[in-house]
């Protein structure tokens, strides 16, 4: 299990051909109190850079951008009733998707934890 981070403040924990995807605590803190999450549906496929959901905070709406190509195999339904959990544990229970990786080579473009920490300074 390896966790990767993107410059769009997402994390991906990869296990074989699948990954769990979410936003970082840093991103959640920047967004402020989250009140709504719009997710794609199971079976939807996407390419790196695609808009794969929206997070609405009390401040504004922010897109979630795909860090890699993939397909949604599960969307975290708990976020619908409790979007605020994204502020509490964005790197834990409040993951957003489980995805199937369709171009695992793209993981090389992402950062590891130390790299991400340096990135957010």
């Amino acid at each position: 299990m390896t966790t990767y981070y993107s410059e769009e403040h997402e994390w991906l924990t990869v296990e074989g051909e699948t990954a769990t995807v979410g936003i970082t605590q840093h991103a959640a803190d920047q967004l402020g109190e989250i009140v709504f999450v719009e997710q794609k549906e199971v079976g939807d496929d996407f390419e790196k850079g695609d808009d794969i959901g929206v997070i609405e905070s009390v401040k504004a709406a922010s897109e979630i951008y795909a860090a890699v190509d993939g397909e949604v195999i599960e969307a975290n339904g708990a976020l619908e009733d409790n979007p605020g959990s994204l502020n509490e544990s964005p790197e834990g229970d409040a993951w957003i998707y489980k995805i199937k990786l369709t171009n695992a080579d793209q993981l090389e473009d992402l950062m590891d934890l130390d790299g991400y920490k340096a990135f957010i300074g």
């Binding site: 402020g32 109190e33 009140v35 709504f36 719009e38 929206v54 609405e56 009390v58 401040k59 504004a60 709406a61 619908e80 979007p83």
Partner: protein, 365 residues
């Protein structure tokens, strides 16, 4: 705007309190403090919030017949505004649109006005040019703060006992900790509260005295917006602008009978026609049925998918616990309870036309 954003006399205090500073209308203002927008909003509804509104323009009008002359620029009654009372009004343009909204207080030997930060540059010359024989003085050496919420009377009253006796829309000069302040019982949150104009060199000291009260916390622009939206109060530039008439904006209440009948203000012809014949669109409350907030620019459709209007302000209402919005819809769809659809990111989401305010206003009458 290429100029560096300006700072209010409270800038250092905001930074000290952990305020997240943003550029707003050319001013470096706190959008929130560590408590967060939701917490600050709820604190204001249940206790009291301290807001820096020093970016707004404070103006003094002095001269014979100033109130009468001001009536040539606004459609509200100014000559009947009693000393010690304030009133909400707006400048209209020759087409009957709204140039800015403002508060006018009768301070006895002068009128004291508060105009929007983003419109100061327009309003001051507008008055200077059109109010013949009236001295128009913009005040640059005073801060303006608001203390809002059910505990505001205690927060302010503890150090300024006379404030307790004031009622909604009253204004007076009072001594706060040895500082001469203008205090008015009003605000823009839907809660009871005060706006206080303080000499700039004493502003931090007075604010610290308010913040020393257990019930008072600093509140930023983020919560100021959600508070005013829930309370059904218009934001100039979003909900009202140069093309919307006060009748369309459901602000007829602010135009007293004599003024509506006699006219004598810019755009009177259109506004009187709107009053007599009705308007084709109206500003209404809109309550999304689901959880997705509908923000400014979202299209409003009828059940058949026809465009009937658009959202002008919207977001999550912490007190309501759900999204709230306001916007213009065709008059035939403006009755509260009417089912509409909102086009949010390409998908239609159900919503209902709702009476405003979304929360009960708690003014001290």
């Amino acid at each position: 705007m290429t100029d560096a954003p300006k700072r209010t006399p409270l800038y250092d205090l905001h930074v000290e309190l952990g305020g997240k500073m943003v550029d707003f209308a050319g001013w470096e203002m706190p959008v929130q403090y560590p408590m967060g927008i939701m917490g600050e909003h709820n604190h204001t509804r249940t206790k009291a919030g301290l807001f820096d509104v020093s970016h707004m323009g404070q103006v003094i009008l002095r001269g014979e017949g100033a109130a009468e002359k001001l009536e040539t620029l606004v459609p509200s009654a100014m000559t009947t505004l009693k000393e010690g009372k304030a009133r909400y009004t707006f400048f209209t343009n020759p087409d009957g649109g709204i140039m800015d909204d403002l508060i006018v207080a009768n301070a006895g030997d002068h009128l004291f006005l508060v105009v929007n930060a983003s419109m100061r540059h327009q309003d001051i010359p507008h008055m200077a040019k059109n109010l013949d024989g009236v001295e128009v003085t913009e005040i640059f050496d005073r801060a303006l703060v608001a203390v809002q919420g059910p505990a505001a009377e205690n927060v302010v009253g503890d150090i300024c006992p006379a404030a307790r006796e004031m009622t909604f829309m009253q204004t007076m000069v009072a001594d706060i900790n040895g500082v001469e302040c203008r205090i008015s019982r009003l605000g823009y949150t839907g809660e009871d509260g005060f706006e206080i104009s303080i000499p700039e060199d004493k502003a931090v000291e007075v604010c610290r005295a308010f913040l020393a009260h257990d019930d008072c916390e600093p509140v930023g622009l983020g919560a100021r917006d959600s508070l005013r939206l829930e309370s059904g109060l218009c934001l100039y530039g979003n909900d009202i602008n140069n093309s919307t008439s006060p009748v369309e904006a459901s602000l007829t209440w602010a135009m007293q009978k004599r003024r509506r009948e006699e006219g004598g203000f810019p755009g009177a012809e259109r506004i009187q026609r709107d009053l007599a014949e009705g308007v084709s669109k109206k500003l209404v409350g809109i309550k999304p049925t689901g959880r997705a907030p509908a923000r400014a620019g979202v299209e409003v459709q009828d059940a058949d998918g026809n465009t009937i209007g658009s959202i002008t302000s919207g977001g999550f209402g912490p007190t309501v616990g759900a999204p709230v919005a306001m916007g213009y819809v065709a008059t035939e769809h403006s009755e509260p309870g009417t089912q509409v659809n909102l086009l949010i990111r390409g998908k239609t989401q159900p919503a209902e036309i709702a009476a405003m305010p979304f929360v009960t206003q708690n003014y001290k009458r």
